[in-house]
Symmetry: C2
Subunit: 153 residues, 2 copies
Amino acid sequence: MSVRLDQVDRKILSELQEDASQSLDEIAKKVGSSKTPVWNRIRKLRDAGVIGAQTVRLDPEALGFDACFFVLIRTSAHEKEWQDKFLTAVRERPEVQEAHRLAGDIDYILKVRVENARAYDKFYQALISEVRVHNVTALLSMEEIKSTTALPL
Amino acid sequence: MSVRLDQVDRKILSELQEDASQSLDEIAKKVGSSKTPVWNRIRKLRDAGVIGAQTVRLDPEALGFDACFFVLIRTSAHEKEWQDKFLTAVRERPEVQEAHRLAGDIDYILKVRVENARAYDKFYQALISEVRVHNVTALLSMEEIKSTTALPL
DNA sequence: GCTGAAACTAAACACTT
DNA sequence: AAGTGTTTAGTTTCAGC
């Protein structure tokens, strides 16, 4: 499932991740090609799974999501059963925007977006009642300096 | 610039953040309305800045971005001048996908997406040569359990 | 594998109720 | 504030080069 990408493919991806509402004509012009070949490349990239879902970025604060926490989790339970339960829990909870299993002494990191500190506490209480964790540190974001999903192509 | 949103607005936003490639007709049907009113609402939400850029999600691994680090930064320099320099640095570096200023003893957290460990080291060396930091801890992601930008509307 | 055009589909906005 | 209709624009496919 390896995909060979040339410079034109990369330029197309770069344009799409910057602004996916552009028309084929616009993209074609920017990458120095024309409609049909660009369309064929996009279709190929979509089929290969390189291009995923198309989304819009929403303003969290305008929608009342004023609190963002990074949660560092240490666990003493490293069995498969515990892990499956934990994975399911974080995947199901919509306030968890990111979850990564880490190397090193911290086992997991979560990014949690909620309305306020109270809502975070509710989330936290619900989580620890579902799965046992050894140690939890919550880092509260005071300011979002940068936030993008764009890859540095 | 406050925005009052009713349930229909929220449903529209929810649909858009899930799949922005849907046609107006599809969205209208799902939210129990029709084209024109939905279009007017979307336009209003865009003008208000609630709806931001339209993007595509790209598969990091398919594009050779195999390493993801969360970087915890402590600084002893809390002057405005240092901060400006730091903010500029992280905003300019495309490998930094997220940057937050934190409350507590860790001052900043970054999410850094790079090709491999070597590329991270290059980034790290470049960063500390630009701005002085007191203490840096890099957490290496072994597995992306979940990654979304969707807000839990 | 590109160009250009045809056929189709949706977006945008004015006008009507 | 919602529905209808028209204009314009964009997508998708395909024939010809």
